[in-house]
Symmetry: C3
Subunit: 208 residues, 3 copies
Amino acid sequence: MAFSLLPKKTNFFVLFNKQTQFAIAAAVLFAQQASQGDFGLESVKKMRDIEHQADDIAHEIMHRLNKTFITPFDREDIQSLACSIDDVIDLIYTITNRMKVYKVVVIDKYLVEFSTIIEKSVRALAGAIEGLSDSKHHQTVIDRCIEVNRLENIGDTMRDAILGELFETAHDPIFLIKWKEIYQFTEEVLDLCEDAAHVVESIMVKQA
Amino acid sequence: MAFSLLPKKTNFFVLFNKQTQFAIAAAVLFAQQASQGDFGLESVKKMRDIEHQADDIAHEIMHRLNKTFITPFDREDIQSLACSIDDVIDLIYTITNRMKVYKVVVIDKYLVEFSTIIEKSVRALAGAIEGLSDSKHHQTVIDRCIEVNRLENIGDTMRDAILGELFETAHDPIFLIKWKEIYQFTEEVLDLCEDAAHVVESIMVKQA
Amino acid sequence: MAFSLLPKKTNFFVLFNKQTQFAIAAAVLFAQQASQGDFGLESVKKMRDIEHQADDIAHEIMHRLNKTFITPFDREDIQSLACSIDDVIDLIYTITNRMKVYKVVVIDKYLVEFSTIIEKSVRALAGAIEGLSDSKHHQTVIDRCIEVNRLENIGDTMRDAILGELFETAHDPIFLIKWKEIYQFTEEVLDLCEDAAHVVESIMVKQA
């Protein structure tokens, strides 16, 4: 019995690790794009490819969930976690794509800063999720989730400072409309990472 | 036993079909309004009536769900599906109402195009949901869900092209603010149809 | 048996009442800030404190939920309710904070009006939730939920009228961007109260 169930348990962790690897790939690419001011066709197409592949993993998780009786943790938590990670990747793609639509070609120091924090947060989240597979990593999971929360708070403060400056200094409303949206999206990525970390915490509490 | 359960099964399907009929009515009215540039008081009131009636059905589904022990598919899926369809109708009403608030009276070719795609997507979704009641229609359900996904992709590309044009050509920021919001809402209707189609797919996978 | 279960039941109600008391505190503070046009550092810090304390309660509810086998009502409903109330408080804080970021110091009659309605809605919601603990208060729960819905409808109409006026009279697009967002947020608080009231109704239907 244990023999037939364990592989299923393992599968979900393997799938979640695949999914978070795509989240990391998206965050790394976004940091590159921001630091080079490159949101051209080619570059955005790369992000789209990552997003599509991540989508396939999310679908596979949902499909297996619907076909599996015994799961390593609560069904709704598996669903929530898969959706949360997918939301993170989707929003990173949306930002990249919106930069292309807005034809922004400058290197913006705040966007670079945000992209660095996003990469840190996604890596912390990936570490937390990886830790879920083994109760020995309990403390690591907690630490990484706290890190995701910490980065979200930093993002909040940053967005407020940047928006404040934008509204004080911008004379071109259309410029303001574009960047207001972009900065709100970037901060929202950190919110979504925090949502995912909350699911992770909830899974861990139930396992304890 | 089968005798006492079947009517309950049927009821949910009947209710879902009623709900999707209202979604179709909303999409058809929206396409009319867009093609005639008519978002006047009378016309928006008609949409509000559809939205209210659809709301009653959604409430009835939730009420019966809370009172029913045995359901044709998972309780959370029934709830998700009812909410998703309701979200579609709500957002179509929001667009119509916002057009009235913004006092837009022109016929906009892009809005007409979007309204046509929305009608197609809502009809495909309704077909998929109708197919759920009988496993013989398995392939129809799949085909319709794929169609909803396809239309969402078209909507994405359209919105990007239209936003790109809007930001390049608009000189009046207030004009831009209005239409940016309207086009984003219209594309979001297609996202919501896709969300509903995902619930349908998930129901079907579990039935298989 | 009943002896060991009742305290657990009581706990959730006590926690929900604590949470709604913070929601009331947030709404009262917001009404004060709006009527005095005071969204300065000190005042916004007070709101942040309320939001943080409310967050702790929400976390405690989720933590206990994950550790409790028998709950006074469905687990998902407890989770939904805690999240909904938290969303209300979060959004009130967001409005207050955004006013600070936008450096708005005027007293705006519409914001004052909205803040009054928000306070009424939050108090009605708190009353509904309090009533859940005893079936004798069944009618009170219903009445308060209807009141929350009524206030949401009023908020909808108000927002439409205010947005219509804003778009007709505003000549400064940056002014319009700020206030459009603020009014939409304030109306959204009423939507979130309605979402919470829907959860309350659903809990009550199941209890009946």
